[in-house]
């Protein structure tokens, strides 16, 4: 039979395709429905957090940082509760990473703070001697791209029914609403409001001035995102 296939390229190719496609069907499809439901307390990203997430991706922080806490005592001691599938319900793309040159960041918002990130992103080795993380100084002057983040929020809401402007159940029984603007101007205003809170905890005068002028440097958005990782 095989020798026959080797003389009939069309059937050979069909054969190869069926053999390789099989595993995907069995392994991937059944898992889909199950994994996508958010757990209680998981909120969609706000406009500034979405912006920050895009900056995280733009700079490939996932090249060195994972966002996946495995169920080992040593990892839960270091990073907090192990990851649950539903916590990623709004992560498009997922950012688990595959290499930990730096620590996991899944819950970094719990144990690092705005001012620390401000110092650290500017000069990692100055804060943590021996760090091999690059400094990200241009983020203190580059201005963040709010319209693209807003377009992403809209895509999430319109194509994937991500619940913006709707009450979301929290762990303590209350509900919270993550607001999304009606247009890009509103989105920008909302981002700026978030940025002001972050900038208040920062020391860099240029960043503070920029935010006061209504501009949002990338670092502010990035910190908003890092703080949201809990």
């Amino acid at each position: 039979m095989f020798h026959w296939l080797e003389k009939h390229p069309f059937f050979f190719s069909v054969g190869v395709f069926l053999v390789i496609a099989f595993a995907g069907l069995v392994e991937i499809l059944p898992s889909f429905a199950q994994a996508s439901r958010p757990v209680i307390g998981t909120k969609p990203y706000s406009i500034l957090e979405t912006t920050g997430r895009q900056i995280y991706i733009k700079n490939s922080c996932n090249a060195c940082h994972s966002q996946l806490i495995r169920p080992f005592k040593s990892e839960t001691d270091r990073y907090g509760h192990y990851s649950l599938s539903g916590e990623y319900a709004y992560d498009r793309p997922f950012l688990w990473g595959s290499k930990r040159t730096g620590p996991d960041l899944m819950r970094v918002g719990n144990y690092r703070t705005t001012d620390w990130h401000e110092n650290h992103m500017k000069d990692p080795a100055g804060v943590v001697p021996g760090s091999v993380m690059p400094a990200y100084r241009w983020m203190y002057t580059n201005i963040a791209d709010i319209p693209t983040a807003y377009a992403e929020q809209l895509t999430n809401a319109q194509f994937f029914s991500v619940p913006y402007n709707e009450p979301i159940p929290m762990k303590d029984g209350t509900t919270e609403v993550v607001k999304m603007g009606n247009n890009v101007t509103q989105a920008h205003a909302m981002a700026l409001a978030e940025a002001k809170e972050i900038a208040a905890d920062m020391k860099d005068q240029n960043v503070k001035d920029a935010v006061a002028r209504g501009e949002i440097p990338e670092i502010v958005a990035l910190i908003a995102y890092l703080n949201s990782l809990k």
């Binding site: 050979f12 169920p71 990623y88 290499k99 021996g130 809209l154 895509t155």
Partner: protein, 497 residues
């Protein structure tokens, strides 16, 4: 069958040989830079503070992986297809104007796509998915390039004189189909410009930005079903295609066992796709998917080793050739590294071992004993073999080739031993608790301890790059070396001193 050999047309092969070498240099140079950035973070600023946004580790890393995978390796695959394909199917590209045109179009579109990739990655335009970083416009270009490759394969097969397909052709077909299926599914993404503001006003934002169709755990599942098999159909299947042609051809030996080829091929096809779960061990994907990933990885050793053993046995009784020819040395060592990494992979895929190995440099070590020792060596061997036939000249220098072989072998060994130590050390340090039950090390302790190994890895990588430059020089000089007769090209490649 005719007696007079066909006049094969190597125009397209030559073009892709050129990009193999060029993108190999670029990709490996960036690899060496990355390695030294981790050893000496000051290297992040090697072009000064002003350009740090474009020269830092995280911006360059995807450039490295994509340059060596989609640049160096793919070019090598294309170059060898347009060479091997003609010869084992016994048809010449020159026989079909259409195929010739499609082949050239394939090359030029490929080059344009590569340029777009380089620009976009430097600019930080990425979707973050490993080995599938590109935004949708580039995805579309890649699909077109791939379809052209498919036309090249099936076009040549369509007009073939040799009725049955040689083993290498099986593997090229599988490469084409596998990547096509995987790439399409992993790159399902929604351009964000399709969304509209509730009040109907203009949104703006980057037109090329998109988000994945899948979220969270599902996205991870699809990504690693792709990522694992991108390795399978990019770093394994087409390279096996190469060795099945170039080793017997260069040595003049017949393949040891057809049956072994057959079982290895179909075994590999069936098993590989199941194993992707080993990238997601202890994650939030269902337990059974992870278990399947581990089990199938272990079974996968056999079809992988089958091909390698078939190659080693093909050289049975031919030790004098191995000793005499650096070109055959490259291929024998490639088989050996192939065996090493296809045993290492399954061992790392065992859940308990992965608990240590995952996220560490041990994985990076595994990657590079595969890509440097197997993929890199095999592609260079293929180019060395093709060069005299394509340029009708002998290889410029055998001694240069031998020196290169030993330099690069040392480079690979330094690379993987240092990453072996680094990875296992780091993995164990992360897990360690002290006498009080507290974590024994803060994260940074597990970083600073790696400094010597990062330095050794950098040196190893540098040696490999130096070897690659010697290779490039050798091929370049071949173009003006002593012309050779057709009769000299039957098996062993002619080499100058």
């Amino acid at each position: 069958m005719e007696n007079r050999p066909l006049e094969y047309d190597y125009t397209v092969t030559k073009m892709f040989m050129f990009t193999t070498i060029l993108l190999g240099i670029v990709g490996m140079l960036i690899g060496v830079i990355l390695a030294f950035q981790l050893a000496f973070p000051g290297v992040n600023l090697f072009l000064g503070e002003g350009l740090a946004e474009y020269t830092n580790f995280s911006r360059l890393r995807p450039l490295h992986t994509d340059a060596v995978i989609f640049g160096f390796t793919l070019s090598g695959i294309f170059a060898t297809w347009y060479y091997v394909g003609q010869r084992v199917l016994k048809v010449s590209m020159a026989e079909s104007k259409l195929l010739m045109f499609l082949g050239k179009l394939h090359f030029w579109l490929y080059l344009v796509t590569v340029a777009a990739v380089v620009v976009s990655l430097f600019a930080g335009v990425t979707t973050s998915k490993e080995y599938a970083e590109f935004e949708w416009p580039i995805d579309i270009a890649i699909v077109v390039v791939w379809v052209l490759f498919g036309l090249g394969i099936f076009g040549l097969i369509g007009i073939r004189r040799e009725k049955s397909l040689y083993i290498s052709v099986w593997y090229y077909i599988a490469t084409f189909l596998g990547i096509a299926m995987l790439y399409l599914f992993n790159n399902m993404e929604i351009p964000t410009m399709l969304a509209s503001a509730p009040d109907g006003s203009h949104v703006g934002g980057n037109w090329y930005h998109s988000i994945s169709m899948y979220a969270g755990t599902n996205d991870a599942l699809v990504q690693w079903w792709y990522g694992h098999n991108a390795v399978a159909f990019g770093f394994t299947v087409p390279i096996v295609a190469m060795i099945y042609y170039f080793l017997p051809k260069e040595s003049g030996q017949a393949i040891y066992s057809y049956k072994l080829s057959l079982l290895s091929f179909w075994g590999l096809m069936f098993l590989y796709l199941w194993a992707g779960g080993h990238h997601l061990l202890y994650s939030t994907v269902p337990d059974w998917v992870q278990t399947m990933g581990s089990i199938f990885s272990v079974i996968l050793i056999l079809p992988s080793w089958g091909s390698a053993i078939n190659m080693l046995l093909t050289m049975k009784g031919e030790w004098q050739q191995v000793a005499a020819s650096p070109l055959i040395k490259f291929m024998i060592l490639a088989s050996t590294f192939y065996m090493f990494s296809t045993l290492e992979g399954p061992i790392q895929a065992i859940k308990s071992v992965n608990a240590i190995a995952h996220f560490t440099d041990w994985i990076v070590g595994h990657v590079h004993d595969g890509v440097l020792g197997w993929v890199g060596f095999m592609i260079m061997a293929a180019l060395f073999h093709m060069a005299p036939r394509v340029f009708k000249r002998e290889i410029y220098s055998k001694s240069l080739m031998t020196t290169q072989f030993w330099i690069q072998t040392l480079g690979v060994v330094l690379y993987f031993t240092s990453m072996w130590i680094a990875g296992i050390t780091q993995g164990m340090m992360w897990r360690a608790h002290d006498e009080f039950g507290n974590l024994a090390y803060s994260f940074i302790d597990t970083v600073t301890v790696l400094h010597p190994y990062y330095t050794i890895r950098g040196v190893g990588g540098l040696l490999y790059l130096v070897g690659f430059l010697m290779f490039a020089y050798n091929i370049y000089k071949t173009m003006s070396a002593r012309p050779v007769e057709e009769s000299e090209l039957q098996s062993a490649s002619p080499m100058g001193a």
